[in-house]
Each structure stands twice: as C-alpha cells, then as structure tokens.
Amino acid sequence: MKPKDQNYSKSRRLKNQLKAVVTNPYNVIVLIAIVLLTYLIVLPLLDMISTTFTLAQRDVRQSGGVAGAFTLYYWQRLLASNLTTKLLVQPLLNSLLIGSCVSVCAITIGSVLAWLMVRTDLPFKKFFSLAVIIPYMIPSWCKSQAWLTMFKTERIGGSPGFLMSLGINVPDWLAYGPVAIITVLSLHYYAYAYLLVSSALNSINSELEEMGEIQGAGKAMILRKITFPLVLPAMLSAVILTFSKAIGTFGVINYLGSKVNFVTLSSQLYMNSKSQNTQTAFAMALIMICIASISVFVNQKLIGSRKSYATIGGKGGRSTPIRLGAQKPIITIVLIAFFAVGIIMPILILILESFMLKQGTYSLANLTTYYWVGDGSRKEIMEGLPGIFRNPNFINALINSLKLTFVNGIFGTIFGQIIGYICAKGRGKLHGRVVEQLVFIPYLIPSIAFGGIFLSMFSRPQTLFGVTLVPSLYGTFALLTITSVVKHLPFASRAGTSNMLQIGGELEEAAAIAGAGFFKRFVRIVFPLSKGGFISGFMLIFVSIMKELDLIILIMTPKTSTLPYLAFQYANGNSPQASNCVAIVMFSIVFLVYALANIFGDADLAKSMGG
C-alpha cells in the first residue's frame, strides 16, 4: 500500500510537514543563515557587477550618454582600448608572476619545514614549532618595512638603509620590485603551507611509511612515492590559499613596488578606488575574482576524489620519527639561520629602528625613546606629534583595534561555528552545499574590493519596501565589524566545519533520544565538545583582523582608524620609527593573545585552518 493508493488526509500531511519545518530550530537557523549570507555576499557581488555597467556622472563627458545608464564603457576601456596594456595587461602579468612565484617558494619552504618538524628527529622542535608560526603573526607590510630598512637605496632619497650605511651597495633590483616582493611574501605565506601540510602529515599513520620501508624502499623513495602523494591535496589547498592571497595583497606591493612603478592588479585596484574610479576598480576586482575562481576550480579538478586521503589514514597512530642522521647538524644550522634572518632579524630591525632618532645613523648617540614616549616638544620630529604612548591618535587606534578584534573574534567565531555546524550536518544535502558555497565567495573577492563594495553598499541606508532596515553606516564601527566578519567567514566557517565534523553524530543523537531539544543539544553537547575549536577559531580571526590592512583601508575614517592603518599612515608620512612602534605594539598583542590561548585552551592554528 504505497501512499498514492492509500487513504490519507492531505491537509494533515501539510500541517505536519509545516509543523516539522517550523518547530525545528535547525531549519530556522539554516533559513536565517541563507537569507543573511545572500544579503551580505550575493547582493554585494551583484551590486559590484552592475556598477561596472553603470555610467558614472564623472565619466559622462568622456564617454557620452547619461549618468546611471547602462554602458560598456568601463569594460571596453579596460579590455579593448589603447589603455588596456597599461591598465590591465601589465598589472595582470605582474600579479600572476607574484602569485605563482610566491606560491612555489612558500609551498616549498612550508612543506619542507612541515616535514622536518613532524616526521623527523629534528632537535629543538618545541622552539622551532613556535618560531615557524611567528611570520603568520607579523603583518606582511611590517616585513616590507623591515626589508626597506635593511636594503633601502639612494633611489628614493631620505636616509640610507642598514646595508648602505655599512658601505655595501645594494642594487635596486634587490631593494625594490618583484624580487623583494616575492621574497617578503614568501617569507610571510609559507606559514599557511606549513600549517596545512603539517596537519596532513600528522594525520598520516607512520605505519604507511614503515610498510614502504619493509618493502625495501629508501628514505627518498618513501618520501617521493608515499608521503608526498598523501600530503599533495593539502599542498594544493595551500597553493590556492597562497596564490589568491598573494595576488590580492596590496600593502607589500605599495611599500616595495611603488618606488619602481611596479604595479599589480591589487595596487591598481587600490589606486582606482582611492581616486573614485569605482567602476574600473570593481571591473578589476571581478577579473581577480575570476582568476581566483579558476584557480580553485583547477585545484578541485586536480585533487578530485583524492581529497579524502588524509582522513583515510587518519588513525593518528604512532609516529616514529625519521632519523636525519649525518645531515642533522647541517639542517639544524640552516634552519636556525633561516629563522634568524627571516624572522628574528626583521623583528630586531623594527625594534632597533623604533629607538633611532634619525634613520640610518647607527650610533649610540642616535638612540632615543622619543617615538615611544616623547612629549611632542621637538617640533622637527613628526611635525611636533608626541610619542605613540602619549598620542591620542594611537590610543584611539589601539582601543579601536582591540575592540574590533574582540568583537569580530567573538561574532566571527560564533557565526563560523554555527555555519560550520550547518555545513557539517548538511553534508551531501542541498542546504549544506548552498551554505558552503555561499560562505566561500568572500574568499574569492580581493580584500580591497571587498572593502570597497561594502563601503558603497552601506554608505546609503538599506531599505526594503520603503522600510529602512539598516541606516547609513559610513564611518561607523559597525561597518568595520560587518565587513571584517563577512570577509573572514570562509575561514571561520571552515574552522567551524572541521570542528563540528569531529563531533560524532551519534553523540547528538543520543541526546535527542534522551529528549534534549536542539538548543539544549547545542549548549550541553556540541558546544562543550567544540570548545577547543572555538578558541582556535577565535585565534585565527583575532590574528588576521588585528593585522588587517587591505580590507579596511578604504573604509577607514580618522575616528575608526586601527593600528595597522595608523602604522600605514605613519610610514607614508615619513615617520617610519613611529610606524615601527605601532607595528611592535600590534605584534606584541597578537603574540600575547596567541600565547594565552595556547596555555589556557588547546588552541591550534593548524586545526582551525581545517584544510
């Protein structure tokens, strides 16, 4: 007796179905999530696309037509005009060059480090594993500042760099441009590859490698034929992450490229946004989104069904370290040198610089604490501004930064975990896929463009059928918060998903059978079991928002400025010492919070990256 030939009440069926949907909080949450995500992600994206086809008042004279009308003017100018090479092709090629080189270098460094750290008997592992994370905590533009301090040449005038003052002539190609950019970015982004690959390596049972050894394979053979293919998916994800981050980055390009007119899509995007060329900026952003999408697509095709490798061997199991043997001291020394040059030195340079009255003069007499605690009495320094600890702007920025990171960390983590819960529970179902895809979109949008689109969208009140839903948020803290939360959702929700996947479904089912409703299950079972993940997710968002510059640079107003923005302003305003001071304060906060989270919770950055 199938339902079609069975007597049943259609109205009762409908009533029951409705009741099931409405009384299940999970459905309500999914619905709210989808509506919110559509509003905050899909709508801005559509807005962005339509903007590029709408003629702006300022271009009416050049292109003819009416302001607000449909136009192909911007796309034509960008894609098929005599300006194309200068506007698009050259920056695009530069972006691709930076993206690919940084990916290759960063992945190589990160993977080798990960392998050494996880699978070998390297000494001082504890120290190394902390040191290796530090680059992730120093913003990349801080590193470029350190780079300039080291290698600055006479080209831009002002004070000489450290090497110059020692009498070593630094060629321009090393000090500025692609080589410098690639080096600095690689030293920054290898942390991603390190985190992803090391967690993949950790999940491989060493019995797999031991089996290879029993079959008679040498170390190199095992590495090549067993270990490498198993971590390949993780490496490819790291490539995507690094590639899209590298082509989207702006700070480093600005510091190290602008002096030699080295432009990329992201720096052009910033220039265009700054000069109110919103349409062109968005068109460029769309091109960058396409590039990022293609790279993700290629990645998925490449990984394909292999993605689940890491979990197949995911018994954890015993892990017998591989002996490095005779190469051990050599590798250790190389690593120490790498950390000394790549990590310790930039920090030391930044600290040293912050205490130097005049840049480039390396003598004891030149040391001062003026930039830290000066009272503003010396008019020749920073136009009479006091040292940062006495500077209301700094205090304001510090408070803003702390407020922004904490508010974001908390909201972002909670949303991330909830969305992660939806993705984990909805695996293989339509709503799960929809949410997963929606939440991934911000990942593809370059930070600057993302800031730009939110700025243009929320500068005017948001209305629906004449009712004001959201007032104009221009210049408010709320706008900063929304922008940062949404932009970081892909990370936060991914951390949430991997976190939630670790909680067996049966644990929740057992509670459901005991009569616990949705909220009770979430509060009593899911939340306590995912506390570690919550803290890791919080850390991830905290660290990346604390150092965030690209995303919020367009939204900033003096009232809402944050530490990175202040440092950026100081650096551009020829007060590198003050900029360094700000950077050091920021780094200290990040490091402190990381240490605290590590001590008091089992926070693990790698875990929250979640592949």
């Binding site: 007796m1 339902p3 029951n16 049966e506 089912e509 616990a516 009770k520 079991l529």
Partner: protein, 373 residues
C-alpha cells in the same frame, strides 16, 4: 513492554533504496534480533523505529498508537516514543562523568533529584559498575564503557530498548559475558528489545525471534531454532549456522505420495506430510539438499546399506569437536563429529544421514520445500 508494528516501510537515501517494503511485528516482551550482513538495512530499520530517520513510506504503530505515518508526514520525535538506544560506538558524552551521562536524560524529564540519583545508582548497580560513577568515559575500559552505555539506556526505564551492534567493539571473551548479561537483563526487566547484529551466534543465543535481512528486504522472521532447522530459503540456510550447511544438488520427483530424491546422497524418499505448503505438487525438477554438519554421522565401517561411501579430504580437530571434510561422489561435505577423532587423508569412510533432518530446497525458486522434523 510494548508491541511494535512496522508496515510497508520504505527508506531511501538519495536514489538508494535501503528498506524495501519492510513489514515487521515485534510482540510485547520480544527479544527481536535483526540479523544480516553489513549494508542490508538492519541498522536503518532500528533508526527508523527510534525516530532518528524518517521513512519515505509506511506507518509504525507502538502499542496500537501511530508514531509514524509517512503519508501524513507524521513522525513522533524520538523522545516521545518511550524508547532508548545503545549505539555501536556507545556515544558516551566525553565531557560528562558516568553519573552525568546517565542523569542527562532523566534531568530533561524533570525528575526529582532523589529519583535521578536512585535511578543512576540502580542502573549502575544492575550493570555492576557502581564504583565508576564519577569517572569520565575516557578513564574506562571498552567493556566498562559498554556497561555505562547500557546503564544510560535502561535508567530511563524505556518501554523499548534498541541495541545497535553493542558488542561488536568488545573482545571475544567480554562479548560472551555481555551476551549472557543482556539476556538476563531482558528476562529481568521484560522490556521489549530490538537488537541489531551481524553475528549469528549472538542472534541465535539471545533472541526470542530473529528477522533475517537481505538487501533491504526481510527474508524470514522466526524463533532461532526454527530458523536454524527450517530456513525459508537457500540464503537463510547458507547464512545461519557455523560451520555452514552442506548443499547437495539432486533431482527431485514429486508424486501424490511424496517426494523422491536421487543424487550424490543416494536415493531418498520423503512423505507428503513433511513438505511445505509452497512446494511443487508434481513433476521432476532440480533441487538442493541442505544437510547440517552435525546431522551426519561418520563411521569407518558400513553400518547400514543406506550409508554413503566417502573419502576423507581433511580432518581438523578442535578439542570438543572435529571438523571433517569428506568427498562423496565428488561433492564436498563438512561433518561435525563430537570429540576427538582421527582420520587420515583419502581414508574411506561411511556417512549416515537421517533423511528426516534433511532440508530440501527448490533450486529454481530457492525456497524450502521439505521441513526438517
């Protein structure tokens, strides 16, 4: 203490048809085992009964009350069905102590503190793990965790207790101990139980009834010995019993008097009264004899003219019994002989089989056509 009726249950996962028109009645006080190889739908059936899964078609009644009516999209939530479930993985909440694990559901039911404490202690006493009340699950051994899981399930005094392969994670010795304890629990509480397993020994030793599953369809529901003696078809015959039943291909001829068999086991005849209602009423056709290994006696000398000559292939003594494989007219037979016996390879022996104990199956329909009596 309740009767469960499943009617026309269909369950799909995407395009996969997992349960196909499942009909099953579990009487009050039954220890019903759902038995079958992995992926046959037995756990899904359990989850449908528990309310964790919603079937696409069918109805379920519990004590005559409708708890599932797929056509009307009516699915009573698990907590309203008065049942409890022991998961294969135990699903003990790792962040709660044993006490908290057991008290969780009781507190949700808003029981008084004294009542909760009493039930927690009672359940733990019953499972003999009272001393671990304040430990966390990670501080317990697998067997102890298993006991906590069962204690948690019985603390709510469910009318129906569902167990999903609860013993599969235990070692062989513990498994035997837990088996007798579960059986004892069933007789003491009288609770209706549904027990999922792929282990036929568990099923045969503990249940009052067994439902055999194959690819989402229930093949036979019967008490254990009935199932063993008269399997409904070749599939069940092959699945139940260790060592496996011997199959011998023969020719069968049915006449008004009964059935005549001719083949490797010699000529046999069975009276009409031993035949199943569904058996063919006339004609000659291919049939299969099902002979349990313990129903064959083995002798070195011919005892009667009906004995069948065979040659020893292997002989495997296992202490209390000896498993002998012998070739009889080219057909291999496994024989279970009690005690320790010694046969050398290729030795000639004589097998005697009681025709009454033999099952006969129609080769074409694979169904049982002659009972073992």
């Amino acid at each position: 203490m309740s009767k469960i009726e499943l009617k026309h249950i269909d369950k799909f996962y995407g395009k996969n048809h997992i349960l196909k028109d499942v009909e099953l009645t579990i009487e009050d006080g039954d220890f019903m085992t759902l038995l079958g190889p992995s992926g046959c739908g037995k756990t899904t059936t359990l989850r449908v009964v528990s309310g964790l899964e919603k079937p696409q078609n069918g109805t379920i009644y519990m004590d005559g009350k409708e708890i599932v009516n797929a056509a009307e999209a009516h699915f009573a939530p698990p907590s309203e069905r008065g049942l409890n479930l022991v998961f294969q993985s135990y699903a003990l909440w790792p962040h709660m102590t044993v006490r908290e694990n057991i008290a969780f559901g009781l507190n949700i039911k808003k029981m008084s503190k004294e009542e909760v404490n009493k039930r927690v202690t009672d359940a733990l006493e019953r499972m003999q793990i009272g001393q671990y009340i304040d430990r966390y699950p990670s501080e317990l051994s697998g067997g102890q965790q298993q006991r906590v899981a069962i204690a948690r399930a019985i603390a709510s005094e469910p009318r129906l207790l569902l167990l999903d392969e609860p013993l599969s994670n235990l070692d062989a010795k513990l498994r035997v101990d837990m088996r007798s304890e579960l059986k004892r629990l069933h007789t003491e509480t009288g609770t209706t139980m549904i027990y999922v397993t792929h282990d036929q020994v568990e099923a045969l030793t503990m249940s009052t009834k067994i439902a055999i599953f194959k690819e989402g369809v229930i093949i036979q529901v019967a008490p254990p010995l009935e199932l063993y003696n008269n399997p409904a078809n070749l599939y069940v015959a092959d699945f139940i019993g260790n060592p496996r039943i011997n199959f011998v291909d023969v020719k069968a001829t049915v006449t008004a008097a009964g059935m005549e068999i001719d083949g490797a086991a010699g000529k046999l005849s069975f009276p009409k009264s031993d035949m199943t209602p569904g058996a063919p009423t006339s004609g000659t056709f291919d049939a299969v004899l099902g002979i349990r290994p313990e129903q064959v006696t083995i002798n070195t000398e011919r005892q009667s003219p009906d004995d069948i000559e065979a040659k020893i292939y292997t002989s495997m003594p296992a202490g209390s019994e000896t498993l002998v494989t012998a070739k009889m007219c080219g057909v291999s037979m496994v024989i279970k002989a009690l005690g320790i016996t010694h046969y050398s390879p290729d030795q000639t022996v004589y097998l005697s089989i009681d025709p009454k104990k033999i099952n006969v199956f129609d080769k074409k329909s694979e169904n049982l056509i002659k009972y073992s009596v």
